[in-house]
């Protein structure tokens, strides 16, 4: 085969009209993904985008790859089958907060436990978009929606804590409207061998407009976000004047005017306990961490399975159907 022409973002667009509400954050995510895919050195035909149901889950229709828009919550399980069947494929799950964490919560945690080589992108708009505005498992307590007109009584999940609790090997956060950062995060996810969980903060301008505004508006970003970089001190603020410090078992924000930079904790993607602390950081006391919170290599489900298949052949010889059928006590008449 000739070396194929290098792929461009356009190669990943389909001829289907994109059907999200004008202004929806999903458009920006789509653009970012379309611009990252060609850079990965993977032939287009080796991408598979799998989704459940929801606005987010419309994603595969707009990606010119192999795609499967499945049923609500089951995308990780279907994607697992795809990846195990053919580990060569680059398998991406596009899913909403409801799809991933409500109906799909069990598959979500088990995929993480097994460390199947999927990139799980969760578009978190803290609402059910497609069904027109019900409370989601990431909606804040007290939230009034169509299904909670008196206010939601439940605490939301912290998606990172759920993922870490399930044994996630890669956890990261991006934001719909911050394309360069999102692209970087997606690039990292693509490289990860096991399950890469990426939470993408996404605005649903129809049913939950401004859910992330307090940290995504241009003028507050620097103060409200902490961009994590492995091996770098965790410093943020418009003037890079604040940092994170460990105090016993908790994190605290220090002002670099009063403290030395050496007190600032250095980000370590491989430290599970640090990831756990970072996962909990919430406004207003803390900036929201973005970028890669955790990344460790661990054996993937499919790699171990493949090894086992090979080992079995080494051990027992390639299975012979004739022998299988003729095994056990036989007799001839």
């Amino acid at each position: 085969m000739n070396a194929p022409a290098p792929l461009k973002a356009k190669d990943f667009e389909t001829d289907q009209t994109v059907r999200w509400c004008p202004g929806c954050g999903d458009y920006a995510i789509l653009k970012s993904v379309q611009s990252v895919f060609p850079s990965l050195g993977i032939p287009r035909e080796n991408f598979v985008v799998v989704s459940g149901i929801g606005c987010a889950a419309r994603f595969p229709y707009y990606m010119n790859t192999f795609g499967f828009h499945t049923i609500h919550g089951r995308a990780p399980a279907i994607a697992t089958g795809i990846k195990v069947a053919n580990p060569e494929l680059s398998v991406w799950v596009a899913s909403g907060d409801g799809d991933s964490l409500s109906i799909g919560g069990n598959h979500f945690i088990h995929t993480l436990r097994r460390n199947v080589g999927l990139k799980h992108l969760m578009f978190n708009n803290r609402i059910y978009g497609l069904t027109k505005g019900q409370v989601s498992p990431t909606s804040e307590r007290g939230k009034r929606t169509k299904s909670s007109p008196w206010g939601s009584v439940d605490a939301p999940f912290n998606p990172f804590q759920v993922a870490l609790g399930a044994g996630a090997t890669f956890v990261a956060r991006g934001i719909d409207v911050q394309a360069p950062m999102l692209r970087a995060v997606l690039g990292r996810a693509a490289q990860h061998e096991g399950t890469a969980f990426v939470e993408i903060l996404q605005n649903c301008n129809i049913f939950n407009d401004g859910a992330w505004k307090s940290l995504t508006e241009k003028d507050v970003r620097a103060e409200c976000q902490l961009l994590l970089e492995h091996g770098k001190p965790m410093i943020f603020g418009k003037d890079q004047d604040k940092g994170l410090r460990l105090n016993g078992l908790s994190l605290e924000v220090i002002n670099l005017a009063d403290h030395d930079e050496s007190e600032v904790l250095v980000h370590d993607e491989t430290n599970l306990n640090l990831a756990w602390l970072l996962a909990q950081m919430q406004a207003p006391a803390f900036p929201t961490p973005v970028g890669v919170i955790r990344a460790v290599e661990a054996p993937t489900h499919e790699a171990q399975l493949t090894a086992q298949l090979e080992h079995a052949v080494e051990n027992k010889g390639k299975g012979s159907l004739h022998d299988l059928l003729n095994a056990g006590d036989t007799w001839t008449v």
């Binding site: 289907q16 089951r74 027992k316 001839t332």
Partner: protein, 627 residues
């Protein structure tokens, strides 16, 4: 070999029988299943036709000696063709009072009853719920009772080995087996060899079991207890190589065979559930065949992963029992509309809900047909015997991949665990499974994932092939292009197409085999595991001159093309099934025939006696008019 179960010279000649039904029963720790299997293999080697059925207790390890803990193994061996493990017992070996109590009602009057008297102490009797010792009152007078101190005799026989009593007692089943071998003039050699191989690493155990087996035979030789012996001559069976196989093992092999012959990787997604788990176990051992088994977090993930694997080009199979099948419903609907190959195995068990997990039933037919939202047609096959599980599993895979359609395989607990001799097929004689995935050339002029061939199958285009990138999903799609489509007419057309695709598979359904005349007073119509009981009962009726025939449906969806005509040629139709009338409903609705039903839901197979009685009853009914 000095020890033999052959008659000593000069002994009275044995009584010749055409068939014998024998059951071993005892505690789940008593080795009943091994005993039964050994007798089965030996009889098969002796040339008999055989059919066997284990009966496991519902509990893992119910307390020793209780009714809940009774394990059983029944087999029929015969000089003629037989179709079931038998109805009433000619002989029962009961290892303890609970086993006696649970099984006695199946023993024929005058039947042989061997009990281990050592186990009939007061506590044992109480545990089994006996108020008085049945061995000491008249309650067993109708049987040919043999009270044998099996425990004592086994211990004595093994004395010299100086093993702990616990280990010695584990050999009692071979003592009993030895007795049974003597009684039916069986050669103990195959069992001796089996013992040697099985416990090769534990020579003491080999020796102990050999001694126990020998002692059992010797005991019979020595005592006057058994005055009669029996022989069952070899049956005339089709020549070839045989093995004994149960339904689940056969089914698993059928899947592996289909994968091998089609050159596909088998992906089996499952979540353990009785009585389907053994398929997962069997296949998990097949890593060297490249078989992937995926024990999912639940049944939904199991079917979902199988669908994903199919999409990626594997032979995706998922297996479960009724409650798990219910959970798979939504995802099965996805496979229907995505039009992907998928085999869904349902080993039916007693329901509803958790029901009777270890018991058999045939009541998931309508669930398989209709248990999903909207019009969601699938093909359905149902094997008739344990060995048939191999052939229909193979066929289900073939059809599913060639017609690109989900196929349900409906087995049940009785087939799953029941065993029969299987004429081992030659690998090269298995039907071809030619699978075509479109290659890059299919991209020319635009690839259409929902274009259809003459079978109405769409192309099974798998990721990794350049130019065939396409999207599928659960929303309604335009025919040919596969794009999301809300057009009312397209939706109607697609609903009809999905149904028609299944209907056209009727070409692949062989003509229905009719046992008996092509017309008559009564057709007995069945499906699934009742085959043996129906065939036996119909044979009996025919022997008595009744104009009764038997037909058995193996493809429930689509139904065989010839079924309507076939039914029409009989004055009456009787449909026995272990449910409240599911095939009946389909037949009535489709053919407007006032079929009679035999509908008992007792968690166990029909006996041929019961079916025979239903045949007689039905023949006394006036023949219903015809539409």
């Amino acid at each position: 070999m000095s020890t033999t179960a052959r008659p000593p010279e000069g002994a009275a000649p044995p009584t010749s029988l055409s068939r014998v039904t024998l059951r071993f029963a005892g505690d789940s720790g008593d080795g009943i299943q091994v005993t039964g299997s050994q007798f089965t293999s030996t009889s098969a080697l002796a040339g008999n036709d055989i059919a066997s059925l284990p009966d496991f207790p519902a509990e893992i390890r119910a307390p020793r000696g209780t009714l809940a803990g009774v394990s059983g193994f029944q087999l029929q061996f015969s000089a003629e063709d037989i179709f079931t493990p038998g109805d009433l017992l000619d002989a029962l070996v009961a290892f303890n009072p609970a086993a006696l109590k649970a099984n006695l009602e199946d023993l024929k009057t005058g039947g042989v009853l061997i009990v281990n008297v050592d186990e009939f102490g007061d506590r044992d009797l109480t545990k089994a719920g006996y108020e008085a010792n049945p061995l000491e009152d008249a309650s067993l007078s109708g049987y040919r009772l043999f009270k044998v101190p099996i425990t004592t005799l086994t211990r004595r026989a093994l004395e010299e080995l100086e093993l702990p009593t616990k280990s010695v007692d584990l050999c009692r089943n071979f003592f009993a087996l030895g007795m049974a071998y003597w009684l039916y003039e069986r050669d103990p050699e195959p069992t001796r060899q089996w013992i040697s191989t099985k416990f090769a690493k534990k020579p003491k155990v080999v020796e102990a079991n050999h001694l126990a087996l020998k002692a059992g035979i010797a005991y019979c030789d020595a005592t006057e207890a058994f005055q009669e012996r029996y022989v069952v001559a070899p049956a005339e069976v089709k020549p070839g190589k045989y093995r004994n196989v149960n339904g689940n093992a056969a089914l698993a092999m059928g899947l592996v065979a289909a994968a091998e012959r089609s050159g596909k990787k088998l992906f089996y997604g499952s979540y353990p559930i009785t009585p389907a788990s053994d398929i997962l176990h069997e296949l998990s051992a097949c890593r060297h065949f490249g078989v992937t088994t995926f024990q999912a977090e639940d049944e939904i993930a199991a079917v979902a992963a199988a669908i994903g694997a199919s999409f990626a080009g594997n032979l995706g199979v998922t297996g479960t029992s009724g409650p798990g099948m219910a959970l798979k419903a939504e995802a099965m609907g996805l496979a229907v509309t995505a039009e992907l190959p998928l085999v869904i195995v349902d080993i039916q068990r007693g329901g509803p809900s958790t029901g009777l997990p270890t018991k058999t039933e045939q009541a998931d037919l309508l669930q398989a047909l209709y248990g999903r939202n909207s019009e969601s047609p699938v093909a359905i096959l149902a094997p008739a015997t344990p060995a048939d599980c191999f052939h229909l599993a193979y066929e289900a895979c073939r059809l599913s991949m060639q017609h690109v359609v989900p196929v349900v395989l409906l087995s049940d607990g009785y087939l799953a665990n029941g065993a029969e001799p299987w004429l081992i097929p030659k690998v090269e004689e298995l039907p071809d499974i030619d699978i075509q995935h479109p290659g890059p050339e299919a991209a020319e002029g635009g690839f259409h994932p929902y274009a259809r061939d003459e079978k109405l199958a769409r192309p099974w285009a798998i990721p990794g092939v350049a130019g065939l990138e396409h999207r599928i999903g659960g929303i309604e799609k335009a025919n040919v292009t596969g794009h999301v489509n809300y057009d009312p007419n397209n939706h109607h057309e697609m609903c009809l197409l999905r149904q028609e695709k299944v209907d056209r598979m009727v070409d692949q359904v062989p003509a229905t085999e009719l046992y008996g005349d092509a017309e008559g007073e009564l057709l007995v119509l069945g499906w699934g595991s009742t085959w043996g009981a129906l065939r036996s009962a119909v044979m009996q009726a025919q022997d008595e001159g009744q104009k009764v025939s038997h037909a058995h449906v193996r493809s429930l969806s689509p139904l065989p093309a010839d079924l309507g005509d076939l039914l029409g040629a009989f004055e009456r139709v009787l449909i026995p099934e272990i449910n409240l009338g599911q095939l009946s409903m389909l037949v009535r609705a489709r053919f407007l025939i006032d079929a009679f039903g035999l509908n008992e839901v007792r968690g166990k197979p029909y006996t041929s006696t019961r079916v025979y009685q239903a045949i007689c009853d039905t023949l006394e009914q006036p023949a219903p008019g015809r539409a």
